[in-house]
């Protein structure tokens, strides 16, 4: 199931700089997108979401951008902090369904 892809397995950023995590999808029926953060031995923690009727959603240091024509979304973290170091998962849901389809995750490392 390759409907949601995160092509970068890892990303290293310095503290204070911007982190940009990318996600691509193939199913045009997806109408709701979420980003989760996951630490080892813990469950995914919800970060931010966006509906397909919007192209941007912002919550504090986190902003998600959705480009429907390119079937691409990105998560921006500004400024990045060492505590942001985790695996970030993009997930998508199709209208009328409850199932979340996850990407493979990107491991973010924020160094001091």
């Amino acid at each position: 199931d390759q409907q949601v892809k995160q092509n970068s397995p890892s990303l290293s950023v310095q503290e204070g700089r911007i982190s940009i995590l990318n996600c691509d999808y193939t199913n045009s029926m997806f109408d709701y997108f979420l980003w989760y953060k996951k630490y080892p031995a813990e469950g995914p923690t919800f970060l931010i979401s966006i509906s397909s009727i919007k192209d941007k959603n912002e919550d504090g240091r986190f902003t998600v951008f959705l480009n429907k024509s390119a079937k691409h979304l990105s998560l921006h973290i500004v400024p990045s902090q060492p505590g942001d170091s985790a695996v970030y998962f993009c997930a998508a849901r199709r209208k009328g369904f409850q199932k979340l389809v996850f990407g493979t995750g990107t491991r973010l490392l924020v160094s001091p």
């Binding site: 709701y32 813990e42 919800f46 199932k99």
Partner: protein, 115 residues
């Protein structure tokens, strides 16, 4: 802040044995889910549950699996006869509703090891 809890955190079982994984969803949530993550792979949807019945399931969720809400707080996943390939992290999730802007909140997971 309310959270989803799961027990046990780690379950070791012999192949062919039955296991029951338990979850307590967030109290005012109406939709409940199970996902799993095999080591090194994606998080995969298993099943969703609403109003005491399965509302959606994946092809992974075959006759070996069942879910139940035995009382007002618990939500369980039973694997009838475990296989080696059932070894994974199992995550329970819940959501308040299932509308367009619904968000699923996950528990910490149960690591299932089948020997």
């Amino acid at each position: 802040e309310p959270e989803v809890t799961q027990t046990p955190s780690h379950q070791v079982t012999q192949m062919g044995q039955e296991v029951i994984l338990r979850c307590v969803p967030i109290s005012n949530h109406l939709y409940f889910y199970w996902y799993r993550q095999i080591l090194g792979q994606k998080v995969e949807f298993l099943v969703s549950f609403y109003n005491n019945e399965i509302s959606e399931k994946s092809e992974i969720f075959d006759d070996q699996f069942s879910v139940e809400r035995p009382d007002g707080s618990n939500f369980t996943l039973k694997i009838r006869s475990t296989k080696l390939e059932d070894s994974a992290m199992y995550f329970c999730a819940s959501s308040e509703e299932s509308g367009v802007v619904d968000t699923q909140y996950f528990g910490p997971g149960t690591r299932l090891t089948v020997l």
